[in-house]
Amino acid sequence: MADTTQANLLTAVHPSEAEGVAREPLVLNQRSLGWITDRICGIVENRQPLIWWILFVPSVAGFLALVFSLFYLVSTGVGVWGMNHPVAWGWDIVNFVFWIGIGHAGTLISAILFLTRQKWRTSVNRAAEAMTIFAVICAGIFPGFHVGRFWMVWFLAPIPNSNGIWQNFKSPLLWDVFAVSTYFTVSLIFWYVGLIPDLASLRDRAKSLLRKRIYGFFALGWRGGNRQWRHYEMAYLLLAALATPLVLSVHTVVSFDFATSVIPGWHTTIFPPYFVAGAIFGGFAMVLTLMLPIRKLYGLEDLFTHKHIDNMAKIILLTGTIVGYAYIMELFISYYAGNAYETDAFHMRILSGPYTWAYYCMFFCNVISPQIFWFKWARHNLWVVFIIANFVNAGMWFERFVIIPTSLARDFLPGQWGYYSASWVEKTLFVGSFGLFLMLFLLFLRFLPVIAISEVKGVLPESDPHYPAWKRLRLGRRGEK
């Protein structure tokens, strides 16, 4: 067409833009491709700010506390934990479910949001996937030592042995082993595959030969050729499709650990969807908890924008409300079903039991506090978002505490009732798991690009093959400032 005008071109590319309802851009201030690479690689290449060290040193101390706590546990015996009859699942399982749940946001962002083409995921997926992997590592420690004889953990794997025994495939605890290990493996591969082009960028920018070699080794000879990109994107798509069922399956299986048992307070059919919603809820809260300071600290405001925070706050609001619905439905069913043990279990959970305080902590943090995200000003005030995210972190821990030990402490017969509180060894282990998590995350910030450089570039308007050439020219001049 000879009379193609600039306006027509725009309409062809972004119909909505031309009509004056443009989408908020995902990268602000019209940052150029070069700026994005410099800014993100700069985090890895430059000296870390003082605050990195201020956080790193206590994290390592926390990690050492974890090692000490486990050493003390193994060398002395499981009696150093506060668990006993009737509460045999205490903080260890609470923390396991807590950490496993946190990982779910990473998988959701990397897999489901990828398949549904939510372009805003590109700024958060790398950090969220790293968070997933580190959270699953933390989670794995707890059941590993919960089995009592850590050196017998290999019994969990179906390996032929001279005992002539085999795993009990009817047990949800075994399903859990497979679910969590699959989850970890797929997450790790997904994360690594995503890193390859960025590792190549770091390799190409590296000054010293050693650095070139280390990044070069992990970049697997990436050259960014057309064929490589084609294979890479297909692999990424397939991995995303593989990872998608995991978002639902892992926490479903975790919930089966409880739901398939007969303990009142555990034995409910609502558990799988309720656990999955809770996991995504808690996971997004942790992503925000990590990303808000990182964004400020490393000057990533143009990449991780209010739009991202707004979206995640909305997800927290949605999943928090689903979780609240589940809480209320549990109460309703316990009344409506008319099972005496069930009714009693929930009566004791909310009114007469020894742990009612935990229930109300949970309810406030998880159901009431996120409701503030109905308001736009709250979603856009970083302090409000940060505080609510931490309420959710705490609330999700309390949720697992409310479900696990408090149900066991009030079993069928009053003769089996008891009270559980964690010993200092369990508490040290929990604090230590945060140390390990933060330590790994800070090392990740130090050595790997925190935002997926190649993917963020893909959501810039100029990455669109139909982006008009005259705009591209103007962009060339823009990068200088």
Partner: protein, 253 residues
């Protein structure tokens, strides 16, 4: 992109991978062979303080196992004989009373002997299951499991040797299919017993009474079948309702 890596690294990854796979295979093979009771226990043959010869006593002389291991039918633990049991035959003026091999026995028993100490003989235990695995002899020997099933042909051993692995999988092998290891109760300590030794007439009569059926019916059902331990064991398992437990708590309690 420059040449970061020298040329010789081209095949390094494959070499490392092959090396690791070979190493892994070796580790598994070595562990499989040498870290299981088949290797670690079988063949254990400690020297005893008195070189007691089972092949002589239980074999040639035909002594019953229960003469010395007298509590095996009434106790989880099969006892070793006190020195008094040896003394019954090897006392002053009796069999081999002056043998130098019995020095320790005289020290333990003979009050008139100059070297008398009264100290019991410290036999070395050969067959031992771990503390957390409870094995009971009485449950087995009273249900048709011969000594030979776990200890082998002790009546042919000059020195007792650990012949079977006694591993958990080995226990379970029989617990999952006990028929082939059962024999009539009065043949328990007859280590040389064979299926042909059994009088089929008397056996069917015993079964018929036990299972409240007739001899002819049983014989008819068995027509054409080979008369072997498997057949006898299958009958006994049915007659005695032998259902060995397989849950963890049956041995680990």
């Amino acid at each position: 992109m420059g040449n970061i890596f020298p040329r010789w690294t081209n095949l390094l990854a494959i070499k490392i991978l092959v090396g690791l796979m070979a190493l892994g295979t070796c580790v598994v093979a070595v562990a499989w062979y040498s870290w299981t009771p088949k290797h670690t226990r079988v063949g254990y043959m400690p020297e005893q303080p008195i070189p007691f010869d089972h092949s002589l006593h239980a074999g040639q002389l035909g002594m019953d196992c229960r003469y010395c291991h007298s509590q095996v039918e009434n106790s989880p633990h099969s006892n070793l004989p006190a020195a008094q049991v040896c003394w019954n035959c090897h006392g002053p003026g009796k069999a081999k009373a002056d043998s130098p091999k019995l020095e320790l026995l005289r020290q333990a028993m003979d009050v008139n002997y100059e070297g008398y100490t009264g100290k019991p003989i410290e036999w070395v235990q050969v067959h031992k299951v771990p503390d957390y695995a409870h094995f009971t002899h009485q449950a087995h020997v009273n249900r048709g499991v011969s000594c030979a099933e776990c200890h082998g042909r002790v009546d042919q051993m000059p020195v007792v040797v650990h012949e079977k692995p006694l591993s958990m999988s080995w226990c379970l092998e029989c617990h999952r299919d006990p028929g082939k290891s059962l024999r009539p109760l009065d043949e328990i300590t007859n280590l040389a017993w064979k299926a042909e030794d059994l009088d089929s007439k008397a056996f069917y009569a015993y079964l018929a009474e036990k299972m409240e059926t007739s001899v002819s019916k049983l014989e008819k059902a068995d027509e054409g079948k080979k008369w072997d331990r498997e057949l006898i064991g299958a009958h006994l398992q049915k007659a005695w309702s032998v259902h060995p437990p397989q849950d963890c708590a049956s041995c680990h309690y």
